[in-house]
Symmetry: C2
Subunit: 341 residues, 2 copies
Amino acid sequence: MKIAVDVMGTDYGPKEIVKGAVDAVKAYGCEVVLVGDENIIKEQLILNKADKDSKISICNASQVIAMDEHPAIAVRRKKDASIVVASNLLRQKKCDALVSSGSTGAAVTSALFCVGRLPGVDKPCIATTIPSMKGATILLDSGAVVDAKPEHMTINAIMGNCYAEKLFNKSQPRVGLLNIGEEETKGNAQVLAAYPLLKELKQINFIGNVEGNDIPKGDVDVVVCDAFTGNVALKFGEGLANAIFTLMKESIMQGGILAKIGALLMKPALEKMKKHMDVQEYGGALLLGIKAPFMICHGNSKAKSITSAIRMTITLVEQNVVGAISDKIAEVQQGNEEIEG
Amino acid sequence: MKIAVDVMGTDYGPKEIVKGAVDAVKAYGCEVVLVGDENIIKEQLILNKADKDSKISICNASQVIAMDEHPAIAVRRKKDASIVVASNLLRQKKCDALVSSGSTGAAVTSALFCVGRLPGVDKPCIATTIPSMKGATILLDSGAVVDAKPEHMTINAIMGNCYAEKLFNKSQPRVGLLNIGEEETKGNAQVLAAYPLLKELKQINFIGNVEGNDIPKGDVDVVVCDAFTGNVALKFGEGLANAIFTLMKESIMQGGILAKIGALLMKPALEKMKKHMDVQEYGGALLLGIKAPFMICHGNSKAKSITSAIRMTITLVEQNVVGAISDKIAEVQQGNEEIEG
């Protein structure tokens, strides 16, 4: 299996991405093709003592799309940008999957332009895996399409359902609609319209509305929401967790010698808890609705996240998630046509 | 100063509410009128050794609105529900403010029907105070009106600005629009329409878009959003913080004797951090746009939250927040009329 890794345009630079990819090759035995500035990549491979590794190849790309560039304009103009070159490798089947941690907007646009949508999918969506008390929950859409229509949310639910089946190895995962109350009559116009559509879907185990606090509890496997709400909630949660850990560290530093000894003794327990809640353990969010596995990582990904994202990508390729999604959507569409016919 | 406290319809029952009110009277010297079932309240006052306290009075209400009742129907039908009776005391100026921790929907409806809106306010909004790294941030609307129009969001920004000036004793608080990116061109149709309106407002210090993770950082004082997004994000954050603290406790319990000794030594530092991030320190959310101070607490409020909410309410009455909001809205409207004229 060969995975294309976009090395450019991230917050911490190619160093972290190359290291993460090298570690993944060592740990999981996959092949990777590193896409980006050839000289920078070679230099980093030497630093990681991996320049002679036959499982690692380089595909040069002379341009980079920065975080603040307009995605559609940049993807159209920069034909040799690393994300565009990597997406074309995926389209040409020169690799089995793609991992990127550059601009999310550029990645989504590049996936649409170069790789293309699955039949029956109007808009793609980003499925993020969030740690919970009982394991993890998939939240989608967490950032691809704002102002999604209720019909998009039902397609997203079907895709999320297939993804959860494969990722969690679980049949009939519980699918919920993110809302501000449990009752069917609660919510804004968008979710009020989406609810009956989801309820009708025979292909999923729809458990009704879920609220924000149900996500960390882990009583739901797939949470469907619009990209605006999903993105705001995710970032708020991320910021809050950071604030809690930072304040904890500060309190310990200000707490004198006893607090410091206490922290030292508690360290293994704290590390275990932090590992449980660490988003880096999942590493990436899958872009659903695209013809091939396309993994989007946080712009601030460090080596560990990239390694985790590659591990996750290998599983998704092995499990043929994209094929399962494609089949399920075809099944739903056929059902709809029969009803209409 | 006299504050009406709705004692009924909460998750933990009248016990916690009465105790919180008694503690507030002792701590802050205010008067309270407890609204609800007279017999239950008397019993609780005896248990709290406060049945002879001249600063505490009872106003009997024979009905209760439950959490799952339809707010508008229940408020209209149950004329003697505690929240309706308390709201009428506020309208008749028999008290200076109201604190409720029953059904939020019933409280908002009762406030609208019995107390009424300020001139120029079409829809009220709930302003929740969230702890941050640098103190606290006001998030509004956090649950009153879903599908708010951009014009409502500008009125909310003005009201939130006045509230922050008084609550944080800060001139020119920073007001941000909750979005999925910093750029003016980012977001869904609602925020794209609200942005230029907020930018034009001379009465506020608008700092542009803020993202979910900016809230816990504390670089913004007032965050404007629609009630759907605000409510989902708040509940997600609440659930996440709970999950972190629960997992921490579990890790310590499973971590053997050293982890337990460590936790004991770290306890003061951990308590300090928890106190900093504790929403109960604020206790209540102010319902803005109503003619008198109307404080809404979480349905699961314990005595401590009620005491905090009463302390906060006393400050808001002393500072005449409602008067300040009313004046500012009149000023904005006059400005608009002059431009139109």
